[in-house]
């Protein structure tokens, strides 16, 4: 592989007291790919993602994001990443438009530039009618799309999605994945955590996390071949179960 690497993680360790949430992680993410982080709840997916976003400091290890070091260049990294949490991170008591305006504002997009972009976005989301409606009263699927679009509003080259599809019905999930594909096609690197096995199939490469460690990392096709499994669900069960049994 001679593709451009955009995220490089070396020997990443994160401990909370005696508990090791991330145990010596090593991986690389290529520019423009959809990189999936798969694992059970508590496997350390969210912890690792928070470190990459600068929301949490690692105990030790090196992380490089688009050539910036997460210890020294935190401010620069903040400008080039987008982030969407599983809770969608929208203000329920603000309208759709006010939410867009606020988050655009904190990334320094305002005035004419903001109005033009916001208009285009609202049209693209088909949300003209609800632009002045409080976010609290729009459907969950719309909130999810809005949250993703807001995370992408400042056009970051890398976007982190933390279980963005949890609690959403399958049809809305598929529509959401279409948005992810569109973003990836335009060259954005998508880093996504999920615990839905079917979603792992949509990723270019998947890292399976188990108890703070990376149990396997490859394309979905190779993972299935190596494990001799029909689908990702089987791959996951084969990789994760034996270790759990030791407990």
């Amino acid at each position: 592989m001679d593709r451009e690497r955009i995220i490089i993680v070396k020997n990443l360790v994160k401990k909370f007291g005696d508990f090791t949430a991330n145990d010596n992680l090593n991986f690389e993410v290529y520019k423009g790919e959809i990189f999936g982080f798969l694992g059970a709840n508590g496997a350390g997916k969210t912890t690792a993602m928070k470190i990459l976003c600068g929301l949490s400091k690692p105990t030790s290890g090196e992380v490089d994001i688009a050539g910036f070091d997460i210890y020294r260049d935190t401010d620069k990294i903040r400008h080039i990443i987008g982030y969407m949490s599983q809770r969608f991170s929208l203000y329920e008591d603000l309208t759709v438009y006010e939410n867009i305006r606020f988050f655009a504002g904190i990334y320094g997009i305002r005035g004419k530039e903001f109005r033009a972009k916001a208009e285009k976005l609202i049209a693209k989301l088909n949300m003209e009618d609800v632009a002045k409606t409080l976010v609290a009263s729009i459907p969950l699927g719309w909130k999810q799309k809005l949250a993703f679009s807001i995370a992408m509003f400042h056009e970051p080259p890398i976007v982190f999605l933390d279980e963005p599809t949890s609690g959403v019905d399958p049809r809305t999930r598929r529509q959401f994945w279409e948005m992810i594909y569109q973003a990836a096609e335009s060259g954005v690197t998508v880093f996504i955590t999920t615990h839905y096995m079917d979603e792992a199939e949509y990723c270019d490469r998947v890292s399976i996390m188990d108890q703070g460690r990376i149990a396997a990392l490859d394309t979905p096709k190779m993972l299935k071949e190596n494990a001799g499994a029909k689908n990702m669900n089987d791959v996951f069960l084969k990789l994760v179960r034996p270790q759990k049994a030791e407990l």
């Binding site: 909370f16 976003c53 606020f102």
Partner: protein, 366 residues
């Protein structure tokens, strides 16, 4: 700066959209001032008394008239049977019974000694104490007038400095400011920050290029404005409605209040960094701060009357220093050099809260 203004605008929208809370926050000072100024009154007025006059001469009549014309007492009953006294107390109609012995005037003039007994209902000890003091004072005054012509070895003249009419509202103004500033600056700020943690929006803000100080300032500024407006309401109502005097420098008074507001805001930020949800933030503010502010700051109960261990605890609460200093400036007209210690303590507490919160905030969301 522009980023900060955007943040500030968002916070204002939050506050305005929550009309009910906003109304409560803005109306509280009016209501509290009215309640404390008119309804809750520690002064004694028209306490029901009964008289058991076994003598019934001019002198006992004069003393009774003096008492009743003072405005503090109201005659409920005249009794002759000691057993009736118990009934009256039990019925709650009278708080005090005055018993004049037989041949009161005659004994006074011939023997130089006449006895009057004061019985009070001490189920409310403070009140009973006050009644006895007032009664004693009035009787002593009467005796003084009787003996004008004669030589008096000792004369007592008392004067209540800084609050001549012993108006309760003078005391409530500083206490109320402390209470409301804590309520709005500390509690509302801590709740509004933890709300963002709960809803996950805090993460979205923290991954953005916004600086921590911009986030904190944006969250705090609107509540500082509300606290300032409440301060204005209390101070203006205090002087124009209740006639509380501001004897010291207004600049020093306002400076002291602003410092206290800043301290309360820092405390609010600190509480929000240690609480994981809104409920916890509210409980810490309510139980940990508002109650001690009411009970231990000298606002209602004098600190000097507390046992030493309680006094020590009370010195950990900033409101104590604020109320002491504010009273000194407001009522005594003292200048900075007399209250610098209190100011220093409040300032020190503010710096401590700020430094600890910044340290906690740096670790972000672990």
């Amino acid at each position: 700066m522009k980023q900060f203004l955007g943040f500030f605008r968002k916070e204002l929208i939050h506050i305005i959209r929550d009309v009910r809370s906003l109304l409560i926050l803005l109306l509280i000072p009016f209501l509290m001032m009215l309640i404390f100024g008119y309804a809750i009154n520690m002064d004694l007025k028209n306490a029901g008394i009964a008289v058991m006059d076994l003598s019934g001469d001019d002198m006992t009549h004069e003393i009774t008239d003096k008492l009743l014309s003072s405005g503090y007492f109201e005659l409920q009953d005249v009794i002759t049977d000691p057993g009736r006294a118990e009934e009256l107390f039990k019925a709650g109609k009278v708080k005090e019974i005055l018993v004049f012995e037989q041949d009161f005037a005659r004994k006074f003039h011939s023997e130089g000694i006449a006895k009057v007994q004061i019985l009070t209902d001490a189920s409310d000890p403070n009140n009973a104490n006050m009644l006895v003091n007032y009664t004693n004072g009035i009787i002593a005054n009467y005796l003084l007038q009787q003996q004008v012509s004669q030589f008096l070895p000792l004369q007592v003249q008392s004067s209540f400095r800084y609050n001549e009419n012993l108006e309760s509202v003078y005391m409530f103004v500083p206490g109320l400011i402390a209470l409301l500033v804590m309520l709005i600056s500390t509690m509302m700020t801590s709740i509004s920050i933890t709300r963002e943690k709960e809803s996950g929006t805090m993460e979205a803000i923290l991954v953005s290029p916004l600086k921590p100080w911009q986030i904190v300032l944006g969250k705090v500024a609107p509540y500082a404005f509300i606290a300032l407006s409440n301060l204005a309401v209390i101070l203006l109502m205090g002087t124009f409605v209740f006639g509380v005097p501001y004897r010291g420098s207004i600049a020093l008074l306002l400076g002291l209040c602003v410092l206290f507001i800043l301290m309360a805001l820092s405390l609010g930020i600190l509480i929000s960094t240690i609480s994981s949800n809104q409920l916890m933030a509210m409980m810490i503010s309510m139980v940990g701060l508002l109650l001690p502010t009411i009970l231990l700051s000298g606002y209602i109960f004098p600190i000097d009357n507390m046992p030493v261990w309680l006094q020590t605890i009370s010195s950990a609460f900033p409101a104590r220093y604020f109320i002491t200093a504010l009273k000194a400036v407001m009522l005594k007209g003292l200048r900075f050099m007399y209250i610098w210690k209190e100011i220093l303590v409040i300032f020190g507490m503010m710096m401590f809260f700020l430094i600890v919160s910044i340290k906690k905030f740096k670790i972000r969301l672990d």
